[in-house]
Point group: C2
Chain length 196, copies 2
């Protein structure tokens, strides 16, 4: 039930609509926990049924009415109880790593393409974290009232993206160094089953 708790955690900052939560999960907290709007609306219904959040409808003209959700005292307590339980260490679950494990049985060229895309992705995210860090936690900041949790979070995120980006670079270098040795045989048949 972690998504529900992630939503509760978000709502400690301020009341939000499902739409706003979806956008939040597309940026800040979403860097650590992905969820699309359907998942969020579904979870909001459950949380409301449990009495952990309360919806207040705001009538709008020109746009559909919105439901602003607020944490109830029960929700706050539930969050504290959840946070008091030991966490379970996650595993990485990255397709790319599975592919590396079977590197000798797959085609190198698509792998290289993929690694380049991923390198860019992780560099982007790293830059993004650094940007947010500078903006939210500038150098000469008063230590008193800082948002410690989010500072730590952003620092971890930045370092994580850094090492994954480094990893992609190394992998690309290693593949280049190796490329002379293996015969590159592209996929013969055209039925490359993509997503569409």
């Amino acid at each position: 039930m972690a998504l529900g708790d992630a939503i509760l955690a978000c709502l400690t900052e301020r009341p939000m609509t499902g739409y706003e939560l979806a956008k939040t999960f597309d940026s800040s907290i979403g860097f650590f926990w992905k969820a699309d709007h359907q998942q969020i609306y579904r979870e909001l219904s459950k949380l409301r049924d449990r009495g952990h959040i309360q919806g207040r409808e705001v009538v709008q003209t020109g746009k559909p009415n919105k439901l602003i959700y607020t944490l109830t005292p029960e929700g706050r307590t539930a969050l504290r109880h959840w946070a008091a339980r030991p966490s379970t260490p996650p595993s990485i679950k990255d397709d790319l790593l599975i592919r590396l494990h079977a590197l000798d049985s797959i085609d190198i060229e698509p792998m290289r393409t993929d690694l380049m895309a991923r390198l860019e992705h992780h560099r982007d995210r790293h830059a993004n974290y650094e940007r947010i860090l500078k903006k939210r936690f500038p150098e000469g900041m008063a230590e008193g009232r800082l948002d410690l949790g989010n500072l730590l979070l952003l620092r971890l995120g930045a370092r994580h993206e850094q090492i994954v980006a480094d990893f992609c670079e190394e992998a690309l270098d290693a593949l280049s160094a190796m490329s002379g040795k293996a015969t590159v045989v592209p996929l013969e048949d055209g039925k490359r089953e993509g997503k569409g």
Copy 2:
């Protein structure tokens, strides 16, 4: 369908039974992709139905008969096709990070306990990776026929555990430095909903 592909990737090394796969997913590849034996058996049935693997029954006395699964040519092709598609960058999905995001609304003491447990966990895993690295890839190793994919994999794993462990240490330090400022209020009521 990544678990299926992870199994195919494992079977490129050597034919295995469901039981052996389950053990593999409890150690090496399982550091990156968790799966219990029930999930694995279910997935094996699907892969067999698709013709991607082939089971050969070995009659045993004293133990239940076992089914050794081998990759079929179709399975090998399916793996190559899968590996030729772009991978999707995963998100971290760690409870601990959600808690950090709501640090101001939760209790610090259980958080501290959790962080200490996690520190130990990630240190253990780091040591484990380093141990395997030394064993499988000793210093003066011939560069010719090394298992490049797994070398990269282990190096990434080691570094990842390292930064997460460092992160736990930093978080603990920060909590200690902060502890004087906040009033610690333990949970009042006893209905701490645990797992049981």
